[in-house]
Symmetry: C2
């Protein structure tokens, strides 16, 4: 399951888990970053417990990416996937000037469609 | 307290609350939307329990905005602010093609700065 066409994740009723990853790019190695980001999105979507992903990055290099997971154990398992670990290390070394990562339990949710 | 210069919110240690608002703009009334979005950001930052805000919108009109709050009561109080209620109604009528709103309890967090 990849992100739907409009970029909104249609998740099941709560509770479930959200990983909010807010980052500012350093500007170094933009091609490597873009390629790896795409690869990680595809890899995440193949993990157990993956429920969806929403991601936006503006023209200044600020991005907010939220991935959704069935359980906290699924969140931790994704964090520990070897190829993901390698990408995280490259992120700290090269791609990110700063980030904030928050693990959250989704308690309630609401959808709107015009 | 407005969003810091780099767009990342420096929040206190968990637990606290996050409102994840993911939206796709309809494209209607972009000036009204931009003006109201800026006003709501300023208004939110003046509410009790406000801890910060992170927001990115890409060139396709997909945005992810996360606001952080001390308690769930603070989240509900902000939802019910009259001027915010009016903006929400205009959002559904005019500005948004679709959105997902999720209320989450932040359980753990991590920061990185290069």
């Amino acid at each position: 399951m990849l992100a739907p066409m409009d970029g909104l994740a249609r998740t099941p009723p709560p509770p479930y888990w959200a990983v909010v990853f807010t980052s500012r790019l350093s500007g170094a190695d933009p091609e490597g970053y873009a390629q790896t980001a795409q690869r990680m999105e595809r890899l995440a979507s193949a993990q157990a417990g993956y429920l969806g992903l929403e991601s936006a990055r503006d023209g200044t290099g600020l991005g907010v990416t939220v991935s959704y997971w069935k359980t906290l154990e699924d969140v931790h398992a994704w964090r520990d996937v070897l190829e993901h670990r390698a990408a995280q290390a490259r992120g700290r070394d090269t791609w990110y000037a700063a980030f904030e990562l928050r693990i959250c339990r989704v308690e309630s949710a609401r959808s709107f469609e015009a």
